[in-house]
Amino acid sequence: MALLSVQDLSVKFGGEFGAVSAVKNVSFDLHRGERLGIVGESGAGKSITGFALMNLLSAPGFINRGKVLFDGKDIVRMSERQLRKVRGNRMAMIFQDPLVTLNPVLTIGQQMIETLLAHRRLRRDEAEFIAIQKLREVYISSPEMRMSQYPHELSGGMRQRVIIAIALLLDPDLIIADEPTTALDVTTQADILELLLHLCMSNNVSLILITHDLGVVCQLTERIMVMYAGEVVETGKTREVINDPQHPYTQGLISALPQQTLPGHTLKSIKGYMPSLLSMPSGCPFHPRCAYALDECREHRPKLVHYRDASVACHEVNRLHQETLAE
């Protein structure tokens, strides 16, 4: 059984113009120890999906439809009390900006011990021992000293290590990391990514990595899910999707990267901009920017069609696939 099974998840935001759909019909399975990357540009709905998986959405956002089965139990229908047992304990979240996540007026030690005591029956000194051990696991030098320091006394990379240590405190089965390295410098980012990969692999922890950076996804994940305007447009094995993207949006996203064009030459950009949730185009959400758009694309929304290891939501890809099958 999959550790996490998301079925037909939809998220809406209520507002003065009526409810708008921010995430539509997202379904996927994640097995124990598996690492999935959710990729997309800002406004694609990837962070909202991450929040919805933890049932952490706050008003005006709400889960409109669907199930999030974690170990067989539906998170969407859990009470606050039940949720508290799962969150932090069995699934943990890491955010982009560690300064916002950490409490500025508590020491690192206080925050870690507090978390442990809230979830486990432990003595203070036992909790302290575990906390120091976790800090050591994320390669923080002299962890005993760091325990009494405040977040502002640490560098950005060090803070993100502390966040990872806190996420690991209760030995979760799943970590959801939302742009965990976007605020960091490249050399620090490389260290943190290595660390995350190492920790997930050695503890058999599942990872959902939410990012806009395709390079980061390639380094960390086995499977990839590409989102556009609140919908999943393509899924598959990371390496296969990157090497041979099927959906025109994924293709555009990859070929727009500067390293895909000779230096100084014109980059292949995707024309236009992502539509606003308030004025979604009819049919396929990508059709106004798509070079292959036909009448069908303007009128009917494509369904996510499953192939062997992959799935794509595109009329054209589907048609080509049907043709090859017929031959």
């Binding site: 490249v186 727009a256 064009t261 950009s269």
Partner: protein, 335 residues
């Protein structure tokens, strides 16, 4: 002065910021004032038509250098020459004609565009200011030309910046910079806040301006993939000092300074054939007390006693690049 003058020439630039001491900080009571050494003895020149790029991680002084060149800050010491004229000591009034020749675009176009000015007003204002003898028709004509060149729809004219997305705003900011027909453009992380598909649009726009208008760029970035695509020459900064200046090609093919190598190996790649990640020791030192010898010494695996005590000088290499590293000079870094 010899016959050949680079467009921008920077000599031994230093910038130290004084910080207020905290009363309860015992160590600072002794010293009284503390200084952040943001820029330390930086020299480089930019030829006409180049896309010169400064790369480095946060706090390395790249934005400070940009602010010094545009005259937004005054250097502690050193010289800045623009088109043969020394510009670092000019009064505000004397700086004004230079503003027409050098323009700046920033990372966050929402902060650099006035939220109370329509696109039309934002584009026309610099024209009125720098070309007081232009007629209304001239100004309108010029505005329309620029809008067409950077792909701004005429219907945007009466709207305010908040009606646009990040990529659209950056287009407007670039259009505003281009209205006065500058020779030199400083772009401080112009695309880092934008999405991948939009980054390509903006980068193309800047490349086009370089080709069609012969604009010289000082481009500041941390994304090395973007640098490789856009730059003709690159200076790598670390803690306010230049490690290496090199043509883009030789920098990416044969990085010499250990910091450059670490930086290049850290880029997340799409392909598997990426070089092995060169891990750095420790953390970046505080700019309050930069190391006495080589600034990179505390994190460098090749550092020896000489590196700890003697600051390396920029040495010219056979391929035309310059590198400040004792290890490279002594030829003791293994490849």
């Amino acid at each position: 002065m010899n016959a050949h003058t680079p467009l921008v020439d920077i000599k031994n630039l230093h910038m130290h910021f004084e910080t207020k001491t905290r009363a309860f900080d015992a160590s600072s009571l002794w010293r009284g004032k503390r200084f952040v050494h943001a820029v330390n003895d930086v020299s480089f020149s930019i030829e006409k038509g180049e896309a010169f790029c400064l790369v480095g991680e946060s706090g390395c002084g790249k934005s400070t250098i940009a602010r010094l060149i545009t005259g937004l800050e005054r250097p502690t010491s050193g010289e800045i020459h623009f088109a043969g004229q020394r510009v670092d000591q000019l009064s505000r009034a004397k700086q004004r004609p230079l503003r027409k020749r050098m323009q700046m675009i920033f990372q966050n176009p929402y902060a650099s565009l006035n939220p109370r000015m329509t696109v039309e007003q934002a584009l026309v204002e610099p024209l009125k200011h720098h070309f007081p003898d232009y007629s209304v028709q001239d100004i309108q004509q010029r505005k329309v030309d620029i809008m067409r060149a950077v792909g701004i729809d005429q219907t945007w004219s009466d709207r305010y910046p908040d009606a646009f997305s990040g990529g659209q705003r950056q287009r407007i900011a670039i259009a505003r910079a281009l209205t006065v027909d500058p020779e030199f453009m400083i772009a401080d992380e112009p695309i880092s806040a934008l999405d991948a598909s939009i980054q390509a649009q903006i980068l193309n726009l800047m490349l086009e301006a370089r080709e069609e208008r012969g604009i010289t760029y000082l481009f500041i970035a941390h994304d090395l993939n973007v640098v490789q695509h856009f730059a003709t020459r690159v200076a790598v900064l670390y803690l306010g000092s230049i490690c290496e200046i090199s043509s883009t090609r030789s920098l990416f093919e044969h990085p010499k300074h250990p910091y450059t190598r670490a930086l290049l190996s850290a880029i997340p790649q799409l392909k598997d054939d990426k070089p092995k990640h060169v891990r750095l020791r420790g953390e970046i030192p505080t700019p309050f007390a930069p190391p006495k010898g080589c600034p990179f010494e505390s994190r460098c695996v090749f550092a020896n006693n000489r590196c700890r005590h003697e600051r390396p000088r920029q040495m010219r290499q056979p391929d035309g690049s310059t590198v400040a590293c004792h290890g490279v000079e002594e030829n003791r870094l293994d490849d």
